[in-house]
């Protein structure tokens, strides 16, 4: 039995089901992200775990105990908000101390605990500051310490880094993960930023319109997306139109050329499908005879810093090929013909428009 | 909440009811008819109406250019002017009129008997409201951006003023005008002390002598104020501004 379990959780507002059948088992100490666009239900689900929303159906259990009927202030669940929600009339120390005071900790022990927390977030010398005297990053760290001070069973974070600027976001991200691992606390992290989800989580739950699209490790989600939505949501994706030549062998026709997928394709002969390829799986070397090859025209070269992106036209569409920058990079001239190579495993075949519907993958990448 | 409603509506209802007792034993609008028939009603109302219009014109003509200037050229003056908008609170009308009389009753500035002094006093009273409305209107329209865009397109200041700035301020101008109007119409303190035949003193006089007419007047004045403020709220729904009509007419 998992530490945190959600079973068949549904939340309706009027007739609209904002969360529609959510099942998840989280192990103790795991860091799970809920990833999705706005309106996908990730924050609502989080708030149901916290107790600020009540599920219309379904059960939520922590350590075996059903918590849906339990009031939010008795669940032992800590929460960190997007806008920090530090109490403005209290110093950092008093904010962190608040949960301990409510739980009637011995003052000496409480003080020691607060000092521990301040050391954890490296803000010992800011203890007497008020929230309005601190930057966003500092406030969020204080909010984190406040939530952790009372040793919650589960830690919930609702897009905690969205209000901060990029540089601070990067720093704080690693800090949060380090603290979480150090304390071994079960954590649910809501975000719309896939980079955050990929870099922080043990597992990611990709959500759309109230449903779970896929649950898996970051590696799985990226390399083996369950459907077109997940594939296009995470990372960059090249999409080409293709027609099925041979379903059993996975042969496809792309812009008059032949491409082979890694396995059989679950589609009918002649059916129009979409072939999706990650930019980093493409290369200009075409040595391996078992791999696929495609001919196209180099339309543009974009320099992105550590990555050089080649924009190549194939069959009326433009696809990206990413390669690392190198001081003596020899690249073909714009406008010339180029030949791409990619392994069969790089092929992701889906039946319709990638991002519009949840089309299941028609081929399995091994 | 319920008691709030009671407290607010009972006096209004009572007043209305009372005002219907124009004729003994008969519920009707007799009191209202008598009020309208009274020549004094018309003269004093007209006088106050004229004063209100003058106040609006002078006030707007004074404050709009000033606020625009502050926004564009002299932002440092903003706190100073804003402090002045607090002045009518610190110097209530009764004190203000006292000072005005003392200053302007003797040559060389013998203005006491001129309606100009009354208008000036009203402008002082209305100033906080006009200022706030104009300021809100200018802030909502990104004055600097618009004027710079217009200038880069070759517009002169006349065009900018009349074709761009003022039309975009319609709502706050209306709001300022209505508010000033409602303040001036019912104003008592300045009018009584400076001995002008205004609507406020007229109402007080009526209240002293007659029984039912005053309540009719009260209802009329309430309807008028309500109508004006209602118009403001309606018009300013396009302007996202808070706290428009605040304060008490002393």
């Amino acid at each position: 039995m998992a530490f945190l379990e959600l079973n068949g959780v549904v939340k309706r507002f009027g007739r609209l089901a904002v969360v529609d059948g959510f099942d998840l088992a989280v192990e103790e100490g795991e860091f799970v992200s809920f990833l999705g666009g706005s309106g996908c239900g990730k924050t609502t689900t989080l708030r149901m775990i916290a107790g600020f929303e009540t599920p219309s159906e379904g059960s939520i259990r922590i350590d075996g105990t059903e918590i849906v009927p339990v009031a939010p202030n008795r669940r032992g669940v800590g929460m960190v908000f997007q806008n920090y929600a530090l109490f403005p009339n209290m110093t950092v120390r008093r904010n962190i101390e608040f949960g301990l005071k409510v739980a009637r900790w011995n003052p000496a022990e409480a003080r020691q605990r607060v000092d521990e927390m301040l050391a954890l977030i490296h803000m010992e010398d800011l203890a007497e500051r008020y929230p309005h005297q601190m930057s966003g990053g500092q406030q969020q760290r204080a909010a984190l310490a406040r939530a952790l001070a009372v040793r919650p069973r589960v830690l919930l974070l609702d897009e905690p880094l969205s209000a901060l600027d990029a540089k601070i976001r990067g720093q704080l991200r690693t800090e949060i993960r380090a603290i979480q691992q150090k304390l071994g606390i079960t954590t649910i992290y809501v975000t719309h930023d896939q980079e955050e989800a990929l870099s922080l989580s043990d597992r990611i739950v990709v959500m759309r319109t109230g449903r779970i699209e896929q649950v898996g490790t970051p590696f799985e989600i990226y390399n083996r997306p369950a459907n077109a939505f997940v594939a296009s949501f995470i990372g960059q994706l090249n999409v080409l139109d293709a027609t099925v030549l041979d379903p059993a062998l996975g042969r496809l026709a792309v812009a008059g050329q032949e491409v082979r997928a890694a396995g059989p394709v679950a589609a009918a002969l002649g059916q129009p499908v979409k072939l999706s390829l990650r930019p980093e799986m493409l290369s200009l070397e075409t040595g391996d005879s078992a791999a696929n090859q495609l001919d196209g025209t180099l339309a543009n070269i974009v320099f992105l810093g550590s990555i050089v992106r080649l924009v190549i036209g194939i069959g009326g569409r433009e696809i990206f090929l990413d390669r690392f920058n190198a001081p003596h990079l020899a690249l073909p001239a714009v406008g010339t013909a180029v030949r791409l190579g990619f392994p069969r495993e790089a092929c992701l075949v889906t039946g319709g428009e990638p991002a519009a519907e949840a089309e299941p993958a028609l081929s399995k990448a091994i | 909440m319920f008691f709030g409603f009671l407290y607010f509506f009972v006096p209004l209802a009572a007043t209305f009811f009372f005002s219907l007792h124009g004729k003994r034993g008969v519920l009707g609008f007799a009191a209202y008819r008598r009020v309208f028939a009274d020549p004094q009603f018309l003269t004093t109302f007209t006088f106050s109406f004229e004063m209100a219009v003058c106040t609006i014109v002078v006030g707007l003509a004074l404050i709009i250019p000033t606020v625009i200037w502050i926004h564009l050229r002299a932002p440092w003056a903003k706190p100073i002017v804003e402090t002045f908008s607090l002045l009518p609170f610190v110097i209530p009308p009764i004190v203000l009129v006292f000072g005005l009389i003392r200053m302007y009753s003797a040559p060389p500035f013998q203005l006491v008997s001129s309606p100009a002094l009354l208008v000036a006093g009203y402008v002082v009273l209305a100033f906080p409201y006009i200022y706030r409305a104009v300021d809100a209107g200018l802030r909502a329209m990104d004055l600097r951006g618009l004027t710079e865009a217009a200038q880069s397109l070759g517009a002169g200041w006349g065009t900018i003023m009349f074709r761009i700035v003022l039309p975009n301020m319609r709502v706050s101008l209306l709001s300022a005008a209505f508010l000033t109007f409602s303040i001036v119409i019912g104003e008592l303190t300045l009018a009584v002390m400076l001995a002008w035949p205004a609507f406020g003193p007229y109402m007080a006089l009526v209240g002293r002598d007659l029984a039912y007419e005053p309540t009719a007047l009260a209802i009329l004045s309430f309807l008028l104020t309500w109508g004006l403020i209602g118009l403001i709220q309606f018009a300013s729904r396009s302007l996202v501004s808070q706290g428009s009509a605040v304060g008490g007419a002393h």
């Binding site: 008795r74 032992g76 800590g78 929460m79 908000f81 929600a85 109490f87 403005p88 009339n89 949960g99 409510v102 739980a103 309005h132 909010a143 009372v150 | 909440m1 709030g4 009972v10 006096p11 209802a13 009572a14 009372f18 003509a61 004074l62 250019p65 200037w69 502050i70 050229r73 002299a74 002045f84 002045l87 609170f89 110097i91 209530p92 009308p93 009764i94 004190v95 203000l96 006292f98 000072g99 005005l100 003392r102 208008v119 000036a120 409602s182 303040i183 008592l188 303190t189 009584v192 406020g200 007080a204 005053p214 009260a218 104020t225 309500w226 403020i229 605040v246 304060g247 007419a249 002393h250």
Partner: protein, 298 residues
């Protein structure tokens, strides 16, 4: 008519930098007006309170403020203002609370705010009439209470034309004013604070005692101070209600202007000076508290 120099519009050019001297130009019309009709009258009052009939400097007027009957007058005015400030403040807070944090429907909220906008201006003569019609000797409510419930208000000591009657009447514009001022502050109370405190184990009561009330205390206090000042300076309502009989500072000042039996303009100036001192103290306290409030409720 007041002379106004040609407006600053003509003086504005498209020059990128403005020398300080030209920047002053645009303020001139307003400055003249403010000088003529705000600063000078106020200072002349100030001066007058330190002068006697012959214009010589004297502190006698200020000393006269200490006369027992004058002191009583100030006391009564302070009492009326304090009572209506606190009562208006508390009830106004309750009302505002019910439509912001209390969760009553949005329609009620805009209705209440609109009504408050009107009612806070409904002071002066019409208000006095309305209350006379309601609670006066032959007022509707008085009559109803007498005929239907057998309760004779006036026999029980209630009198509209007394201290408490005036307080009741003043509340009619104090309450809405409070609603208008305190609503933005209540809106600034973030719901996340409540949720954070709950997630940390606090009960609703603990939330209010440790967080919400300390945060709301400054704006509450400052609003009540504003209400105090509002009532202190009010003239028209009291005048219309009691015809100048009530012993209030504004009424007394009015009497000095109009020349009554005790006609002594210099006393009047001193009275006015005293009033300005009180109002200034109010506005200073108000701004100081507001600064603190706005920091937390941003």
């Amino acid at each position: 008519m007041t002379d106004r120099p040609a407006g600053p519009r003509g003086a504005l050019t498209a020059r990128p930098s403005s020398s300080p001297r030209r920047a002053w130009l645009g303020i001139v019309p307003f400055a003249l007006f403010a000088l003529a009709f705000m600063i000078l009258p106020a200072s002349s009052i100030l001066l007058g309170s330190f002068q006697d009939e012959h214009g010589a400097f004297t502190l006698a007027n200020i000393a006269h403020l200490a006369r027992p009957d004058i002191l009583k007058c100030y006391l009564v005015t302070i009492q009326v203002s304090a009572v209506t400030a606190v009562a208006g403040g508390l009830f106004g807070l309750l009302l505002a609370f019910s439509v912001t944090l209390g969760g009553l429907p949005k329609a009620l909220r805009s209705g209440l705010l609109t009504f408050s906008g009107v009612a806070s201006n409904f002071a002066g003569v019409p208000l006095a009439f309305a209350f006379i019609a309601t609670m006066g000797r032959v007022g509707i409510v008085t009559v109803i209470l007498k005929t239907v419930f057998g309760v004779n208000l006036y026999e029980h000591g209630f009198n509209l034309y007394s201290f408490w009657g005036l307080c009741l009447t003043y509340l009619y514009f104090q309450l809405p004013l409070m609603v208008l001022i305190i609503t933005p502050a209540l809106d600034g109370v973030k719901k996340e604070w409540r949720e954070a405190s709950e997630s940390l184990g606090a009960s609703g009561f603990q939330y209010w005692v440790h967080i919400a009330l300390p945060i709301l205390a400054p704006p509450l206090l400052s609003s009540m101070i504003l209400l105090f000042g509002n009532a202190f300076g009010a003239y028209a309502t009291a005048y219309a209600l009691t015809g100048g009989l009530l012993n209030l500072v504004p009424i007394l000042i009015g009497a000095q202007i109009q020349g009554d039996v005790l006609h002594d303009p210099n006393l009047g100036y001193a009275l006015a000076f005293g009033m300005v001192v009180v109002m200034t103290a109010c506005i200073l306290a108000y701004t100081a508290l507001q600064k603190r409030a706005s920091r937390w409720l941003r």
